[in-house]
Amino acid sequence: MAFDRVARRRWKSHLFAGLTLLCVVAALIPLTSIVWTAFDRGAPALSVGFFTQPLPAPCGSAQTHCSYGGVGPYIEGTLVLIALSSLIAIPIGVLIGIYLSEYGRRGIGRVISFFTDVLTGVPSIVVGIFVYTLTLDYILKTGGNPENVYSALSGATALAIIMLPIVARTTEEALRAVPDSVREAALALGIPKHRTTLRIVLTAALPAVLTGALLGVMRVGGEAAPLLFTAFNNPLGYTGVTQPAGALPTMIYNLYQTPYANWQADAWASALVLVLIMVILSVASQIVFTRVRRRISGGQ
């Protein structure tokens, strides 16, 4: 009797373990499919020249030899746009998160929190058009040349607006996960609130805050829509904050629409490169986070 029950429970446990495994596999199917398709269709373009050569002339069915390339400047552009938008969004987002968690837990803070969530849901193309309109309006009011509306800076601003609510909300959640007893202990020792927040609460939550920042970077790294109206395009990649900038997602969008086989292969290979950049960023930051975490716990 008892044996029966144990066997049944063990069987149930196996069943559910199997089901969760199945779900993991199901979740991995789209990812592997994307990576495989990009690899398969981009294979002819993948070579050293793909990174070092400029984008070749389009190659129609009449030509027998097609060349590939041109991803280099766009990798540069994407990395610079990610860096610029992180410089804008991460400090502001972390400060918003600190306010929401440490100072504004009720009243206006809850209103801000609600609108931060709303901002997360705004479609990225709308953010692009918003930044475009705002920049153009400013330029026209100050009597500048409307052509300056397209720049790396306005592209980074659009990306930063998309990143901001993600960073703010994850920071807030991370800080809230730090037990109140830690804050009380610090305050009881006579440490002022701002120092408690910055040196004790934020430090304890640092790995989670950094994970939030990484999520924000991942979110914007693959965005094409907000860049069409802001960063525009630039075959040279990045040439200055006030100049238009090229990025991998917009390059993929432009090339895939064309009828030329070599450009379409370039677009697929660029998609693969974009996924790889995200994987490298993720792995690199995981290594840094582990170090940070070890350092924090090592100090206790």
């Binding site: 009449a62 410089l87 397209y150 525009f232 395009n233 064309t258 086989a261 350092r295 100090g299």
Partner: protein, 409 residues
């Protein structure tokens, strides 16, 4: 006091390691902060360097003494012309040109908002769009044709032959009055073929498109019912059919839908080796589209020798149904749009040097640039159209003064 350590802490085996640990912790934190500070400083220096152009090789090569120093020009619009435009601006050395293929509609709104130096559109400006952008000029910089593509399984064509269609039958198919492949008017055009009884699946563009503009213009001149009921524009209210986005969407739909018919840029059909129909021209010949037969069609069309000025209204220009025996009947221009007086349009920050860069580049596209057309399956402009474009470019001025022109790049 005897028994104290040099730094004044009381002796005790348990205290010492803790103190050391604390010191170690704060020094490692200092190191951590120092690393962050260094990284931030390096990032700032690298960004500043980029800004100042440290990492760019200065390989500007002025062509002749009369050429202005190259500046950066921006253009936006047509996805159709993007590959040709890319070929142009990577070959041309007189200026750095930066083109974003966002679609003809966005190209027109961008040049109207003056956020670019030139816009590109496969359809001309409507009179309303023209009033919206005062001082705007438009000129054809390339041309194309519309191919009729279809999916007829189990129908075998003789070598060099294809499905025969004409404007009237196409209008009836797209109006929904011819619903089956073996319908009499269609069968009559194809005497040697046994067409199936299956219903025709009509596919059309769902997005605004210059290809739709040219195709519906062709249907309007072939059928009064089409002209009154539907008309021609970049988007129309289709009586029947399924919409697909972009040339790739149309081509994909025809490939996967049996018994379907659609229209696509000739350029797209040729590069992807999609089968297309022979279209009847005014002499009664059925012509399979090719770049050469489209070029001769544009040269022969009555409007090509009677083009409006750059400032004029191009929305009535029709280069279809040319009278030549071998002319393909569905031909179309694609346009560049820019301002006649950049100083007045953009303000005093638009330098004469930039205006010279713009006019020299535009001039290059309609002369030397045309030699790149055929290899990419674009239609080379006939000399009558180039002559009209030259008049348009010569009418440009910088705050009233003529803009010096030079052959650069």
């Amino acid at each position: 006091m005897s028994g104290t350590t040099p730094n004044g802490a009381p002796p005790g085996a348990s205290d010492l390691p803790q103190e050391m640990k604390g010191r170690q912790q704060s020094s490692s934190k200092m190191a951590y902060m120092a690393v962050i500070a260094v990284v931030v400083i390096v990032v700032i220096i690298v960004l500043a360097g980029w800004q100042l152009g440290w990492f760019k090789s200065n390989s500007s090569t002025p062509a002749t003494a009369s050429c202005p120093a190259p500046v950066s020009l921006t253009g936006a619009g047509s996805t159709f012309v993007f590959p040709l435009m890319y070929q142009w601006y990577t070959t041309y050395t007189g200026s750095t040109v930066n083109y974003e293929s966002v679609g003809s509609g966005t190209g027109i709104s961008d040049i109207s908002a003056k956020t670019v130096d030139f816009g590109a559109s496969d359809a001309p400006l409507t009179p309303a769009q023209k009033t919206n952008a005062s001082g705007i000029l438009q000129m054809p910089e390339s041309a194309g044709a519309v191919a009729i593509i279809f999916n007829l399984p189990n129908v075998n064509f003789a070598a060099g032959k294809s499905l025969n269609v004409n404007g009237s039958v196409l209008a009836q198919i797209f109006l929904g009055t011819i619903m089956n492949w073996n319908n009499t008017p269609l069968q009559t055009l194809n005497p040697g073929l046994t067409l199936p009884i299956d219903p025709i699946s009509v596919q059309h563009r769902s997005d605004g498109s210059g290809t739709t503009y040219a195709f519906t213009q062709f249907l309007s001149s072939a059928s009064t019912q089409w002209a009154t009921q539907v008309g021609y524009s970049t988007t129309v209210n289709w009586p029947v059919g399924t919409g697909d986005k972009g040339s790739s969407g149309i081509a994909g739909a025809v490939e996967t839908t049996q018994y379907s018919i659609a229209y696509v840029d000739l350029n797209y059909a040729l590069n992807n080796e999609i089968h297309f129909a022979a279209v009847e021209n005014p002499t009664g010949a059925f012509i399979l589209p090719s770049v050469n037969d489209t070029a001769s069609a544009i040269a022969d069309s009555k409007d090509s020798t009677n083009l409006p000025l750059g400032t004029g209204n191009w929305s009535g220009v029709d280069v279809e149904n040319a009278p030549g025996a071998k002319d393909y009947p569905i031909a179309t221009f694609t346009y560049l749009m820019f301002y006649q007086n950049p100083y007045a349009a953009y303000g005093s920050s638009y330098t004469l040097q930039k205006a010279e860069n713009l006019v020299n580049f535009l001039n290059w596209t309609i002369h030397a640039g045309q030699s790149y057309s055929e290899g990419l399956y674009y239609v080379t402009l006939p000399s009558s159209v180039v002559a009209a474009d030259v008049v348009t470019l010569d009418s440009m001025n910088y705050n009233g003064a003529a803009i010096p022109q030079a052959a650069c790049g």
